[in-house]
């Protein structure tokens, strides 16, 4: 089950907002500093959907992941089970 940990800071809020509308995704708090996006299927992230620029995109998963990133490009990536 792929997971993305997202630090609670403004520049990464787009990950959370984009995940809210994705089927199979749930979001929970992890301590005071992080949220976790968890999905029962592969999660596809689109940079423009998250509303972030290229520099932030390249570090968008800095909070941590469970799973494997496939087809990581400038505009989209999919997180699948490891």
């Amino acid at each position: 089950m792929p997971k993305v940990y997202v630090l609670k800071v403004p520049e990464f809020a787009g990950l959370i907002e984009s995940a809210r509308n994705k089927p199979g995704c749930t979001i929970r708090s992890v301590g005071e500093s992080y949220l976790c996006i968890q999905s029962d299927r592969p999660i596809k992230f689109l940079r423009r959907e998250m509303g972030i620029g290229p520099a932030v995109w390249y570090g968008a998963f800095t909070g941590g992941i469970e799973g494997r990133l496939v087809d990581f490009g400038r505009e989209e990536v999919t997180l699948v089970d490891a």
Binding site: E11, G53, G63
Partner: protein, 213 residues
């Protein structure tokens, strides 16, 4: 030589971080082999005041004993400095000066807002310099290359840093160091750090404490 700034504060309780605090950057220094071009760029293009210069005889090694060491003001008491080693030539390098090995070493100056940043961009472009703009996580920056091929960055910080930032940075570095200890080699791909960090984030949350506490 005493390391105590204030002898009156020399009680054991005071011999901690308070007397070891730093007060910001005084100067960064790099060598130059382009004296006139460097002075032109920092004084005339950047508009920084020349504030100090040292002329030394016989202090350097035998093949270039004399040098100039000169400083430009860069705000809030900070300066940027250069060494001009007389009679020397830039040593041969195994990589060119536009290689990432050198371009990663840079000075970044702070301005207070985006309007000022864009005014700096316009100023540099008016002198014919190519300026790159990058919006990072907490910084929006412009970049320009000086006559020495040194990268110069000017940034405004879009938000203040808080506890979450410190927690996250600590866990990132801890994840990377853990991998290197476990594998006995430098970490190779960022995905490994991100996966290791997810475990640390869960542990951190379960412990309910700062990782560096």
């Amino acid at each position: 030589m005493s390391t105590l700034a204030n002898p009156k504060d020399s009680t054991p309780s005071a011999q901690t971080a308070s007397i070891l605090a730093l007060e910001g950057v005084h100067h960064t220094a790099r060598p130059t082999w382009k004296l006139a071009e460097t002075v032109h760029f920092y004084r005339d293009v950047m508009g920084l005041k020349i504030c100090h210069a040292i002329t030394a005889k016989g202090w350097g090694p035998e093949d270039h004993p004399d040098f100039l060491h000169f400083f430009f003001e860069s705000g809030n008491g900070s300066t940027i400095a250069f060494f001009y080693y007389l009679g020397s030539e830039r040593p041969a390098d195994s990589v060119t000066w536009d290689h990432w090995l050198y371009r990663s070493v840079h000075t970044a100056w702070r301005v207070l807002d985006r309007r000022t940043l864009m005014e700096w961009k316009e100023r540099l472009e008016s002198f014919g310099y190519k300026v790159m703009v990058v919006r990072h996580e907490i910084l929006e920056s412009i970049y320009v290359t000086d006559p020495n091929d040194y990268m110069i960055e000017i940034s405004w910080q879009m938000r203040s840093l808080g506890r979450n930032d410190a927690v996250d940075a600590t866990l990132t570095l801890e994840a990377a160091i853990d991998i290197e200890k476990e594998t006995s080699r430098p970490v190779q791909v960022i995905d490994d750090i991100w996966r290791a960090k997810s475990r640390l984030v869960e542990q951190h949350a379960a412990a309910g404490a700062d990782p560096d506490a």
